[in-house]
Subunit: 322 residues, 2 copies
């Protein structure tokens, strides 16, 4: 071996087997090949589809796309768990039918109190503390509280194939972002540990906040400042990223406008939809229901070129913590 | 030379002279040494002040901190230049005293029309187009329009010492952010070329925006949604970054709360203030004036441990384009 070759061999990065599957939890029924072809294309220097790394921006819905959302949004379970714990310490806080229903875990009675009742329950856990303290509260809950039917912690109910995909995209120079109808500080509490997504790459529904010059913190004061859903998703992206992403992944009609925005740019783009088809291993739902309705986006996916991922057929594993 | 040493020598990164001055436009009258000591401390692995790279977040005011702001905010010159050009094409657009004063460049008469008049002038150039088209408009203007007294383009009036500092911080693993009372999309138009700061690391005052399903863009619809000044700065930081930064640099009382927030965290932090002391080379102003008033923050800087940078004494060069 010449000295030249020896040096090259010693200096080379650790060789990665060229054919290692970067997405082992994906069974190739169409989506995986399209994802890999898109990534290969935008990363091929000199290629017609090349996109510089800083513009390889990928946005992901959270509920139903990165983790489960049944039988209710996990953020509601968080609020209810907190309310129950507070009520055990001091039952006198249950001053309304909504709070009583929430503390009893009676989702039907809570629903009967309408949106005002729901917000009242949510604000018990979401207001009157700093954004930092709230993130810590959400983090603790996500990693310790247990989901009512799966027996896993909520943090274990992130989707293994999606966590793999996030890492695969980052390995290929992408930045990965969450764009969620869920609360931004709630998701920031666990997104870095769960998904490798830092707080500043989370966009979500925002409560009102105020600077508190005494505690020197930004306090959550209750109420809602931005609903980051439907047409709010492109608005939130424009506010926080300021550049049109090139890849979007959602699971419901709430992601329609985000998918439409991302796949209407001038350069290459890819839109994807998780289709919840697996009642045996997860939950099966699409056109009807109280959460994650996928109807118009399912009808129009083919026309837009959006890739619909059949969970039952394409994901060999569902949850990260299985 | 043994083969082992030879390999090490060939594989080593290009050696950087250890004593090269990373901030050549800074004369050391105190501030430079404090900046370097802080950076050395937070980057020293195993040291008591070590901060992991993802949390080395540095926030900068823009007007008067990263570029000049006299005799008026540059964004106002942008609005006036646009209004003049539009009025030359079609004088019938000048339907109010404010618009007439603006197109004539009569800042005094414009000021007499109050905040409503000012907003009317600004909205001519800031509404009715997509965020992407607006950013392109701002970029073109910043690199071609010429400042009334310096003879430089506005993009050339960024501060060379601050551009150096941004690069020095990034070389040491920091992320660099703008937190400005100026318009977020205006700054995003030129911040990447001027400062190396990408659009998603710009926080600023925001106009209202809406998703337009026909053009598939996010449109600027006029009005103001967030004033990112004073107590709005920590609020904007909490909204967009979601984590308390460790370094803040401002130049006026509008940065007081941001400085207070950043330097009140649990770990190491550094607050800095540009003091405009150089009437000969730039502009001299602090406690009085219509722009960039530095009064309370100057009085309280010592008590907070904030470093006041004396521009005349500490900057050997002022503008990047000199
Ligand atoms: Ca969803
Ligand atoms: Ca300023």
């Amino acid at each position: 071996m010449s000295r030249h070759i020896l040096v090259a061999a010693l200096c080379a990065p650790l060789a990665v087997p060229a054919l290692a599957d970067p997405l082992p939890s994906w069974d190739d029924a169409g989506a995986q090949a399209k994802i890999v072809a898109f990534v290969d294309s935008v990363t091929e220097e000199g290629g017609a589809g090349y996109v510089e790394p800083s513009r390889r921006i990928a946005v992901f819905d959270n509920d139903g796309t990165l983790w489960s959302e049944q039988p209710a949004y996990f953020q509601l379970f968080f609020a209810l768990d907190f309310l129950k714990a507070e009520a055990e310490k001091d039952p006198s806080i249950l001053t309304s039918p909504a709070l009583k229903a929430g503390a009893a875990g009676d989702l039907e009675a809570l629903a009967a109190t309408g949106m005002d009742g729901l917000l009242e329950v949510i604000e018990v856990s979401h207001a009157g503390l700093s954004t930092e303290a709230f993130q810590a509260r959400a983090r603790d809950w996500a990693t310790t509280a247990v989901h009512p039917t799966s027996g896993l912690t909520y943090a274990q109910m992130t989707y293994a194939p999606m966590v793999e995909l996030l890492g695969y995209l980052r390995d290929n120079g992408f930045s990965t972002w969450i764009v969620s109808g869920g609360g931004v500080d709630f998701i920031r509490g666990f997104a870095e540990a769960a998904y490798g997504i830092p707080p500043w790459q989370v966009i979500g529904t925002r409560g009102r906040t105020e600077w508190d010059p005494v505690s020197k913190t930004v306090m959550k004061t209750g109420g809602v400042a931005l609903i980051d859903d439907k047409e709010g998703k492109p608005v939130g992206i424009a506010q926080q990223i300021g550049v049109r992403p090139i890849l979007a992944f959602g699971n419901s009609d709430g992601d329609y406008q985000m998918l439409d925005y991302v796949t209407s740019g001038e350069g290459p783009s890819l839109g994807l939809i998780v289709h919840h088809t697996d009642a045996a291993r997860e939950f099966a739902y699409d056109r009807e229901g109280h959460i994650g309705v996928l109807d118009r986006a399912l009808d129009e996916a083919e026309g837009h070129g959006w890739v619909v991922v059949d969970m039952a057929a394409e994901w060999s594993t569902i949850w990260s913590g299985e």
